[in-house]
Symmetry: C2
Subunit: 229 residues, 2 copies
């Protein structure tokens, strides 16, 4: 079954920059290509947009098919449309970035016959197409996002300690933060719920666990509260 159009059309794909926190590293997920071009090279998970699915649906579907990931935080990043991005033909790619809780999704690589693997964000192999550029944009966006919105919770277990959260910020923003100031700031945002639980299995005083209160956050966003770190 084929489709015919009066004028030639670019192919349309989605690609996802998938971040996961694997302390002490921020990791990104790639799949190994099993087709030409760039066969055997690592690439961002992604693929063609079907004509009856939205862009976001396409991104979700590709993530599920290629990496087994579901229900992750997903946001549009940028659309890449230079004419020579793909050696075969004109391809326009809508890039998304995703944040996944590795605590929930341990076994990603195994879910599919395809070869998937996490790489440290500062230690990425040569990538197919212009995917290094997309990766860079995704990382940059994550850093900016984190600076202005409390989005990091998507990378942590649902219950976490303030120390874990601070480490996350330090890893992503790539600079160290003062413990007391960080706690003041983040608690002052008033979007964390203090739980009646502490962490377990640590060989020292256990830290209190917190949970992100998304409902409260959304209310505060409406009121125009600032979440800058």
């Amino acid at each position: 079954m084929t489709s015919t159009y009066e004028f030639p059309r670019p192919a349309l794909t989605v690609d996802c920059v998938v971040f996961g926190l694997d302390e002490p590293d921020l990791k990104v997920l790639f799949i190994r290509r099993d087709l030409e071009p760039y066969r055997g090279k690592w690439a961002l998970p992604g693929g063609f947009v079907h004509v009856e699915e939205s862009l976001e649906d396409a991104a979700k579907r590709e993530l599920r098919e290629e990496t087994g990931l579901e229900k992750v935080f997903l946001e549009q990043l940028y659309t890449y449309g230079d004419v020579d991005r793909d050696p075969r033909e004109r391809v326009v790619t809508v890039a998304y970035y995703a944040l996944v809780r590795l605590s929930d999704h341990r076994v990603v690589a195994a879910t599919d016959a395809r070869d998937a693997a996490w790489f440290g964000v500062h230690d990425v192999p040569r990538l197919a197409f212009d995917h290094d550029r997309i990766l860079k944009a995704g990382y940059h966006r994550l850093q900016n996002k984190l600076r202005y919105e409390p989005v990091g919770f998507e990378l942590l277990p649902r219950k976490f300690t303030l120390r874990q959260l601070q480490r996350l910020y330090e890893i992503i923003l790539d600079r160290s933060l003062d413990k007391r100031n960080f706690r003041k700031k983040i608690l002052g945002m008033d979007v964390l719920e203090e739980l009646d639980e502490v962490e377990t299995d640590v060989a020292h005083r256990a830290a209190r666990l917190y949970r992100f209160n998304q409902k409260r956050y959304r209310e505060m966003v409406k009121q125009g509260v600032n979440f800058e770190i």
Copy 2:
């Protein structure tokens, strides 16, 4: 001449949200559609992406063809890909927003047979497709952008007074700013060149003219300087 593909492909278009400052209003440019669907309705300037041109080139070309505008500030906004955006068929639209110096481009509407017109951003007619949504996103983006980056100069004449600049900020951000604090802040950024000229044709003391020093700005961005207002 037709093109045939194995699978159906969405059509790909670009649309531009074009802002211009026409004191005391921020205006947006629309064209009146002369084809179905939405014939006679106002719509964002835009059109199909040719297969041999980049997305940005397509946006520039459409702007030129439909509105006569050239060499304007142009930046990608968001890509809209819901399946039912267009009643005819699946259309994916990469939206851009543009800032134009009305002082340089007075006669936009006349350049083409097509019907083009500026509307106050708070006083826009019913628009074709989901263009009201795109407009909203563009306006929102402009506000955010202005808040964090000195981008407003693109809307002013190359030489301008601090008062003009402040008015611009007030119009776009939709709140009044303190004169002295604004001047301190903006001059403290160190990206304005004080000229040896003052405004003319005013019936009161003439204000000094300034010019935006883009080179200096770029250097400062590299150093990670903050341009928040």
